[in-house]
Symmetry: C2
Subunit: 333 residues, 2 copies
DNA sequence: CCTTTGAATGCAATCGGTTACAGAACTACC
DNA sequence: GGTAGTTCTGTAACCGATTGCATTCAAAGG
């Protein structure tokens, strides 16, 4: 079932069929009817690969993320995909599994598949790989790297505002000993979050202690381990912030395992506001990172670059917001 | 940067380059070296679309699921993808968003992209669509539909064993008033689970009441609403089973909202055993559906069909298992 | 030394579309 | 009626690979 058969059946040339299918050039009503009926009766659908080969446009955007099992990302992917499909584009997802070296494979896949643009929402990019994409003319949108340039956009997330609100909130509850469990060192957004934390801490005039800065892995188990370490300190913190909600969940687990209660003994603050956080017992206080806005911005950036020939990158600014639920309470005693 | 340039640079024909890249036919060591060095110096990578067009194989499998935001699926997708990449295949994910009519779009995408096989892990398939795929020779593997045939495999999950264990467990704790909150009616696996529940109930000689069968949507909010309804009954159940863990989470929320406690007042049993369930407070008792095995079976089925020309479908049997945590306890009073 | 055999390589058709360009048909206007 | 302009349609050259078949060349066998 190819375009030639349709053309034969409708008594026209393949060019005309192509034009009817794509609506690129006006076709007389009579012929259009013939072609559509031929398409219907043969059950014809175009071969994407042939189409891409001929036109140079794949109608696919790539999305590179670190872990599809982290609920933060599926939400973005889902939203992005919905918008993309509405605009006649599709989505190809690639995972790096938190391993920077898998990035190369992902980028290669994107190039091989000739995507019309790539959204990169994962760890430090090797500049070489960025260059590779850029030189091939593939529009890029980053999450959180700050880089903007020709064909490179960026979604800047203002972590500082959310974190400052969070610290203010904790301070107002009487906390002064506040710890932080960060994400993997390789992840740029994790680094930004932890830097924003120390900065805000100093701004509030609070003591900063290296013991209070632990490293997690953005997964539940990492939070659990890190919290266990914090609890063993001579002077444990009275409040703990996590670099993402999964980490916070692990931390709560460790706190319970130690026979302590949240928030009576220790306050916990998450980061991201994934869906589940509102349904934990107690519901998690956290800093919301708006995922719909991220998805929309990412799509907008790529669409502008690939369809409207906008070649200068844009910076999208998105702010975070404190969500107070029930894991933060008055300092003990 | 196409194959012709590589051929020119290496002083050979494009056919030879193709053979070096694919390793389909032996090439002399000398020439192979020339070609490889040309590839490297030009930074050549093949165009997937041209390759697919020429060979008829896309090296992609499709995965159709109902909701990427349900943690059950990303786990499967992740595992499937890892195995696929190890075997030189890739993964194209499509969501139906629980809407049966979106299935058509998904199938169409799969056909257009010429996938080498499709794993369908979502609601009732329109037989017409199955036929469409089948006639085009696309191998299919279903989750939970029971259908097996030429080029159609199935992964059968033995829900009954897990559910029976669960009911036995609840009965041993003294429960007799056990309710069930099912998934969306359109989802075949949801129906199977709820049927297995009523069956097991009868087998244990327990009274079955229509009031105790509620419908959810496999998301948290649905569980919450359904549980609220159950709590308003004249004689509320003392134990509740959910068709999946997200539903159970919503149910626990409703129970807490009503000022009751789990498991002291009501026991809750989930279904799936998603990662988060072990980290809830209290950790959720549930029925584990082994996702790694599902992913492995699905891949195995498609790989056998597409690479080893195994045309008769296989039935893979996977059993479920009771996981007792802390949301199930002795009946009250 | 010539033929046979087999392995390595090249030639060119092919996959299924897109699209620049040419040409046809039709209208409009002088 | 002739010319210009517009609108639709067809022809055929691509896009970048794969692969059946023909060819070349060297080693083996007679």
């Amino acid at each position: 079932m190819n375009i030639r058969e349709v053309a034969k059946k409708a008594g026209v040339s393949t060019a005309t069929v192509s034009r009817v299918v794509n609506g690129t050039v006006p076709v007389s009503a009579q012929i259009e009817r013939q072609v559509r009926s031929a398409i219907k009766s043969l059950g014809y659908y175009p071969n994407t690969h042939a189409r891409t080969l001929g036109s140079g446009r794949s109608h696919m955007y790539g999305l590179i993320i670190s872990d599809i099992a982290n609920p933060f990302f599926p939400d973005i992917a889902k939203c992005f995909e919905r918008i993309a499909v509405e605009h006649g584009q599709e989505l190809l997802i690639a995972n790096t599994d938190y391993q920077p070296k898998r990035m190369q494979v992902c980028v290669r896949r994107m190039l091989e598949r000739k995507v019309d643009g790539v959204a990169i929402m994962t760890s430090e990019m090797d500049p070489k790989l960025v260059q590779l994409l850029n030189r091939r003319g593939v529009p890029i949108v980053f999450l959180d790297t700050g880089r903007v340039g020709p064909n490179i956009s960026n979604i800047f997330i203002d972590y500082v505002s959310g974190i400052e609100q969070a610290i203010e909130h904790l301070v107002s509850l009487g906390h002064t000993k506040i710890a932080f469990v960060s994400g993997p060192r390789t992840l740029s957004s994790a680094k930004i979050r932890s830097n924003a934390f120390t900065l805000s801490l100093k701004k509030k005039g609070l003591r900063y202690s290296a013991d209070y800065m632990q490293t997690g892995n953005h997964r539940i188990d990492g939070g659990q381990v890190a919290m266990a370490r914090l609890l063993k300190l001579r002077i444990p913190p009275t409040a703990v912030m996590a670099s993402n909600d999964l980490t916070a969940i692990g931390m709560m687990r460790a706190i319970h395992a130690a026979g302590l209660r949240v928030p009576e003994d220790i306050s916990v603050m998450g980061f991201d506001d994934i869906e589940i956080s509102n349904f934990l017992q107690p519901p998690l206080s956290t800093i919301r990172v708006p995922r719909v806005e991220i998805a929309v911005s990412a799509f907008t950036a790529l669409y502008a670059a690939s369809h409207k020939h906008v070649n200068n990158g844009t910076e999208y600014r998105i702010s975070t917001e404190l969500v107070i639920r029930q894991t933060t309470g008055l300092v003990k005693g």
